[in-house]
């Protein structure tokens, strides 16, 4: 669930309020949104993806409210990491599209299933 919004990073654009698909956040007049309905947070990370200031952090536990401290979040080095990994923080370098390996998803999925199938046959043979 959303754990924290860093006020000193937030520029008050309210992109996270708009982008949250489940209405967790409320805009406030002084700029920094408030986490108003945490029970509706589905831990989908979409607010992080749409925060160009990298000011919002989602803890990965969707079943319980996080107790992580702001300092621990900063120390963890994950603030803004997901948006960076998606390539939403910068244009792709020439010939290095953010999605140039996406076609491998299907083949890798099938390769995984084939590994499991071969291993299971051996597992069954082993156990008689």
């Amino acid at each position: 669930m959303i754990a924290h919004i860093f006020e000193e990073r937030c520029d008050g654009c309210n992109s996270c309020v708009a982008a949250c698909p489940t209405h967790v956040l409320d805009a406030r007049t002084d700029g920094v949104p408030v986490i108003a309905r945490i029970d509706q947070c589905q831990t989908c990370y979409m607010c992080e993806l749409y925060c160009e200031s990298d000011a919002i952090y989602v803890d990965p536990d969707q079943l319980a409210r996080s107790t992580i401290t702001p300092q621990a979040i900063l120390d963890g080095g994950q603030l803004g990491r997901l948006r960076h990994d998606y390539g939403w923080d910068q244009d792709a370098a020439p010939g290095e599209g953010h999605l140039s390996d996406f076609w491998r998803l299907g083949p890798l999925l099938r390769e995984g299933a084939e590994i499991a199938t071969r291993r299971y046959a051996a597992f069954k043979a082993d156990r008689g």
Partner: protein, 531 residues
Amino acid sequence: MSQRDRLDLTADVLIIGGGMAACWAATSAARAGVRVVLADKGFVGTSGVTATGGPNHWWVAPDKRAQAVEERHARSFGLAERDWMARIIEETWRALPELTPYYPFDTDGRGGTFYSGVRGPEYMRALRRFAVDRGVTILDHHPALELLQDEDGAIVGAAGHARLDDRDWRVRAPAVILATGGCAFRSGLIGSHGNTGDGLLMAAEAGAVLSGMEFSASYSLSPAWNSTRTLPYFAARFFDAAGHELDVPPPMSGEAAHLKALARAMDAGPVLADLSDAPDLLKQLLRRIQPASLPPFERRGIDLFENRFPIRLFGEGTVRGTGGLQIIDEDCRTSVEGLYAVGDCATRELIAGATSGGGAQNAAWALTSGRVAGKAAALAALRSGRSAPGRAIGRAGLRPASTARAIDLTPVVPAVQAFTIAFDGTLWRSAAKLEAAQERLDDLWRDMADHGHAEGLGRVALREQAAMLASARWVGAAALARDESRGLHMREDRPQVDPAQARRLLTGGLEQVWTRFDHAKPLIREKDVAA
């Protein structure tokens, strides 16, 4: 809280929902030159199960299509239609390249362009921009609460509550497309929090019929604390808490053996996954392919390919299950005049029969059903002379049949999950289990219908509870009436396929839920496919 003045709009086509089917419907309707309003519960771009995923679309070159349809049809338990299957392949092949100005399609690894698989956030962002460029009016955070119906029974719009503005809205339109997605019964499945069956309830209040609701037993594997994508798990080994390897047949081995083995083990105690056997290339590239797979682990200090970790199966209800609103013609009309259903809100038996459409078929269905309904709705709106304002017809949770009062909602989610999410009632259904659970649901429904009431924004959450109750009752009734096992519907007291039941099963009704087998012929004619 005081409410501001109501937002009133008129349009030719109103689309309710904001996922991929809704967006394809909107762009298609707008191309016909009519006024299109799209009202979504959340934000068009992040709403729904596509945004957090990475759908592959059923993508088959022209010379391989006949064979692909034949192979898939053979696995549909007799309930799919070849013509519809061929149609979604053709339409998907035509449509996806149209997104080129908006989506960064890249290499297919063989010197061509990879169109079929798209990453969720970029796909939905592209569809939003496409719709805006076509002149679609997008209303984000405008959940619909109910439909508007004229004196002839035709749907002429919808009403809801704009949650960021805290005011009511009403859109009048002679054609309405429901694209509200499937119902995941609040299982925690990624992206599905808003997928509560709202469109099914609204349509049923207008008299619409559902089909295939019994085909709703589907799950996806994730770390126990965060539903995410399933790509990393295909080569997984599984262990119990004591470190003993579990006997789990491989995925894609048919008969739900993989799923049932995991479910039985999880009922007995924690199950841990070991992903060390995953393909080396996957270990290197997972971050580039599916970045959202990493945070659940990295933010906990876990190396997902080195450390064993507890897992959970998140229920997918009718999202990856197959049931939904019955489609009565090739334009994706429901049985109610002026009302269309597309994507996961509609039954996908037409293309998947009694099985799951998985990712690829369902994505092609969402795209195609959206496009054909969008076009048909636009043409119908232009011909329509309907201008009556219509009457708001929502009942349960909005207009109690008896005294309005606060009702206890805590039992609702456990009750609706009894035979849709909970393993024993879903994967090992029986008449006895279903009857007991239905009785409980009927009581909760009666309480909701008689007394459920809320004001302002509170109506949105209450209607979601009502919609889940209604959806679960249809699943239960259909699961009871289909007195056999077939595809996704598994009855431990009727383990065999009964050839006499190779027909679609319809359901509907709110006060009284009914079921009946469908004897209709295929829905589209050969000439439409050829055209």
